[in-house]
């Protein structure tokens, strides 16, 4: 029977790129507008059920920042009824596990369950979409949970604090300026009315995409979807976000002064949204500069000049123009200004000297491997299909991604370096160590 387990992972390399390869993904759109993607995959007797709502911190307003994330928490607190049990209790008792995350652009609910629990997941997801009912006491306890999350994840983590300030400085008009988790004062002041408004804005079948990968039959999934999700009426979609961040006209600098052990530096460059043609050249450039120990910035900053203990680059999926962020964790006593100079020199070197064919090929191989690895599991597949459907406009773009990487040329890489890695387009955030202890009294020995 173990053949069932190891039957297929469905991805086959064809030639040097995955480009020619597609999977059998079947789709259906319910009458209320919810699109469903199904990938049958009988590798293991489990299902990855991912529900993507096109709503995130990008859809928020000043004063109620972080509401999308708080709402995500509250979706696990819908009141139990005679008809439906409490969400987590029911899922885990059936052998499943559930999670969720909120981002700038989306809120995603993830259920990993044994195939036998598929009907239950539909019933539970249907219940919290159709019959939202919060216990007011839970609003207050969950507010405490999110405040604790913010303290643990942001306030007690110097790098996260720095990141928050970087984005706040880099964006002046667009909603990416506030953190997904929200500002503490906003966390303290959300009201039930805000939650209800948020629900009405984003939680509508037409504003969601369901992705199901795993040990299922397409027909069964659609049948269950029609029964449980089909009758839910759609409302108007959220108002489109029309704000465009004005072009940055000069370098911005910000700093966080904090009692920390090591200094750090973050540099963010405005880059286009994921669906833009420059996405792939920028990813290849990220590969050359920042991925692996042979990458240019690791070699220079960590290995050769020992200025830092780590350097990393990220460019998240985004519906609107976003940031390409380079983070340098400096070593003790290192001067962040020196690090900055080295960093800029390396970026300039791409513009003036270009990159070698071997570097280009290496970056493509790394990206190909990264791409391939994310698709090893049913979870990875559900995540990737949903990401491409939402951020690239069509899940089928996933199958062309490898080819798009493959087509990037050395000239493309130089072009995007020149276009985006400019002084006027950058925001620099520096973590500066507080010179005095934060509170002298704290340093005294215990009484």
């Amino acid at each position: 029977m173990f053949k069932k387990l190891f039957l297929t992972l469905a991805l086959m390399l064809t030639g040097p790129w995955l480009g020619a390869q597609t999977w059998d993904v079947r789709t259906h759109t319910l009458q209320n507008g919810m699109k469903i993607l199904v990938r049958e995959d009988h590798t293991i007797p489990n299902v990855a059920f991912y529900l993507f709502y096109r709503i995130g911190s990008r859809n928020e307003q000043p004063g109620t920042t972080g509401l999308s994330h708080f709402f995500e928490h509250m979706m696990f607190n819908t009141a139990a009824s005679a008809r439906t049990p409490q969400f987590d209790q029911a899922i885990e008792a059936a052998g499943g596990a559930s999670n969720a995350y909120t981002d700038y652009d989306v809120t995603v609910y993830q259920n990993r369950v044994p195939a036998s629990a598929l009907p239950l997941v539909f019933a539970l997801e249907s219940n919290r979409l159709a019959h939202l009912s919060f216990d007011p006491r839970r609003v207050e306890s969950e507010r405490g949970v999110v405040a604790s999350e913010r303290r643990a994840v942001v306030e007690d983590d110097p790098l996260e604090l720095l990141r928050e300030q970087l984005w706040a400085a880099a964006f002046t008009a667009h909603p990416y300026q506030w953190p997904v988790i929200g500002w503490m004062a906003d966390i303290e002041h959300w009201r039930m009315a805000d939650l209800n408004r948020h629900f009405a804005m984003g939680y509508s079948p037409a504003n969601a995409t369901l992705v199901v990968c795993g040990d299922v039959k397409f027909a069964t999934v659609i049948q269950l979807a029609q029964r449980w999700l089909g009758p839910i009426k759609s409302r108007e979609r959220p108002r489109p976000i029309t704000t465009r961040e004005p072009e940055q006209q000069g370098e911005r600098r910000t700093k966080v002064v904090k009692p920390a052990q090591l200094p750090a530096l973050m540099v963010g460059y405005h880059v286009p949204e994921s669906a833009h043609a420059d996405f792939y050249p920028l990813q290849v450039l990220r590969g050359i500069l920042l991925v692996g120990r042979s990458s240019r910035l690791y070699q220079r900053l960590v290995d050769r000049e020992s200025l830092a203990i780590a350097v990393e680059g990220e460019m998240d999926l985004a519906l609107d123009p976003t940031l390409f962020v380079i983070t340098v964790q400096a070593k003790a006593g290192a001067d962040t200004l020196t690090i900055e100079q080295v960093l800029y020199a390396e970026l300039d070197r791409v513009k003036t000297e270009g990159v070698t064919e071997r570097e280009l090929q290496k970056a493509k191989n790394i990206l190909r491997a990264e791409f391939h690895r994310q698709l090893k599991t049913i979870d990875g597949k559900s995540q990737a299909l949903g990401n491409y459907e939402i951020f690239f406009g069509d899940y089928r773009q996933l199958f062309g991604a490898a080819e798009a990487f493959g087509q990037v040329t050395r000239d493309d890489v130089i072009r995007v370096a020149n276009r985006y890695f400019t002084e006027n387009n950058r925001t620099v955030a520096t973590l500066v160590l507080a010179t005095n202890a934060p509170n002298v009294r704290d340093r005294q020995p215990p009484p």
Binding site: A93, Y101, R143, S148, S294
Partner: protein
């Protein structure tokens, strides 16, 4: 920039439960080949043809319990330095070759073993095996790389200490195990690291790395016979280090009474705490029962602890408990964190939940849920070649075999609430408790004296973890 709201427990759970493969109707142990070469090297091979990937998992019985006293961190440095220069390649060349084929190589040092986990495309198998063989057998430990790495590790420790959540277990091991080998940090500390020199690394490698201390598991798209030949070619001539027997640390003694260590981190907005005592060993016969009870108490989202500290009271973003298991008994601890002003409220509540576990035991429905959860999440750990390779190697390391595995689901089903009572009484501490708190001592120091006296206080920037 994402904010995740919960945590996936699944596969780490299995790393802890780790009984291998399920014996339910749907899943069985995949057939694998085990070979022992004349020089003592153990090879484990699983063919898996549907994905053009190759996962290699190497385990060497050369973990940090073998660190000489005062040179803690040596085992971890040694395994990392394998990829920082060999007789034929520089660190940069190794990195470049690895990156060029899109390969990964993750190195980890634990108490009793170190591991190298690599993943490559099938067509790069020769490159991968050549590289690994050279790393293991012919490292050169260039002096400049040794010094550079030590400096990096000292700074990394500073960075680690910024993250109270992540560093808490290291302090807990220090407080609970003291001078037992488990009390010494695998990462080393600020003092021990700088006392290490190249000679120590060379000697450690000579003494502990050899075919007889190594397990190589390979899973993926290859023919087993051919892979066995390829491995034998590269590793058959590896000369044994002359080390006999596995390193078996003595059983640690549980703490009697109460003990509290307060690590002062003045800028902390919350108190991060762990409370527990000595738990069980990796191969303990009661491990499935222990894990089932822990799934009810603190080992997933819908637990007694999380319900009390998070869901009902909103005191924290997370609360849980776990048994970490090694060749000898590892620790059991519950953990959580909360705003400074709520510190004693949260700890009191956690202790009350622990007491409740002892007085009430677990109910039929709780046990049913835990059983289903364990079985339902199990297959997710068997999905990929790298998971298989890691599990096979780990299994071999602990001397577990198929008989262990084929009984798993049956043993889960046979476990009763009456068994749970015995498990709770025996393995979940009640009155003998070690507390470790990281937080602002000026704010919380006085209030936490009620748990144990005297409070042992230390500063976060003080070297070491105990």
């Amino acid at each position: 920039m994402k904010t995740r709201f919960r945590w996936w427990i699944v596969c780490c759970l299995f790393a802890l439960v780790g009984d291998g493969w399920g014996a339910g109707p749907a899943l069985q142990l995949p057939s694998h080949r085990k070979l022992t070469l004349a020089n003592g090297l153990t090879l484990l091979l699983v063919e898996q043809h549907q994905v053009p990937l190759l996962a290699i998992h190497v385990v060497v019985r050369a973990g940090s319990v073998s660190d000489p006293t005062g040179k803690e961190g040596l085992a971890a440095l040694t395994v990392e330095l394998l990829q920082r220069g060999t007789q034929h390649r520089t660190a940069e060349q190794i990195a470049s070759e690895l990156d060029f084929v899109g390969g990964t190589l993750a190195v980890e040092a634990e108490l009793e073993r170190v591991s190298l986990a690599g993943e490559f495309f099938k067509q790069d198998a020769d490159t991968a095996l050549d590289l690994l063989s050279e790393l293991l057998q012919k490292p050169s430990f260039p002096a400049t790389e040794v010094e550079k790495l030590i400096q990096q590790r000292v700074d990394t420790l500073k960075q680690d200490k910024e993250d109270a959540r992540a560093i808490l277990p290291r302090y807990f091991y220090g407080a609970l195990f003291g001078h037992h080998p488990y009390g010494r940090p695998p990462t080393g500390d600020e003092r021990s690291l700088v006392s290490i020199h190249r000679d120590d690394v060379v000697a450690f490698h000579q003494r502990h790395y050899g075919p007889e201390t190594t397990i190589i598991a390979v899973a993926g798209d290859f023919a087993a016979a051919e892979m066995a030949r390829a491995l034998t070619e590269r590793f058959g001539g590896w000369v044994p280090a002359g080390r006999t027997g596995a390193i078996q640390p003595p059983e640690p003694t549980p703490w009697v009474g109460k003990k509290l260590v307060l690590v002062n981190k003045p800028d902390s907005t919350q108190t991060y705490f762990a409370i527990g005592n000595v738990g069980i060993a990796r191969t303990h016969p009661d491990r499935i029962g222990v894990e089932l009870v822990n799934l009810v108490f603190g080992g997933r989202f819908t637990t007694m602890l999380n319900e009390a500290l998070r869901v009902r009271s909103g005191l924290t973003y997370g609360a849980g408990s776990r048994f970490e298991r090694h060749r000898a008994a590892g620790p059991f601890f519950l953990w959580s964190y909360t705003q400074n002003v709520n510190t004693t409220r949260a700890i009191d509540l956690a202790l009350a939940v622990l007491k409740q576990l002892h007085t009430d035991g677990i109910s039929d429905s709780q046990l049913r849920s835990a059983r289903n959860y364990l079985k339902g999440q199990f297959p997710l750990c068997l999905e990929t070649a790298d998971q298989l390779a890691a599990l096979l190697a780990e299994w071999e390391f602990y001397g577990l075999d198929q008989r262990e595995v084929t009984e798993l689901f049956a043993r889960i089903d046979a476990f009763t609430t009456a068994d749970a009572r015995r498990i709770i009484a025996r393995y979940f501490p009640a009155d003998d408790l070690v507390f470790v708190l990281i937080g602002n001592a000026a704010t919380i120091g006085a209030a936490v004296k009620k748990y144990a006296s005297p409070v042992e206080r230390r500063e976060i920037d003080q070297p070491g973890f105990q």
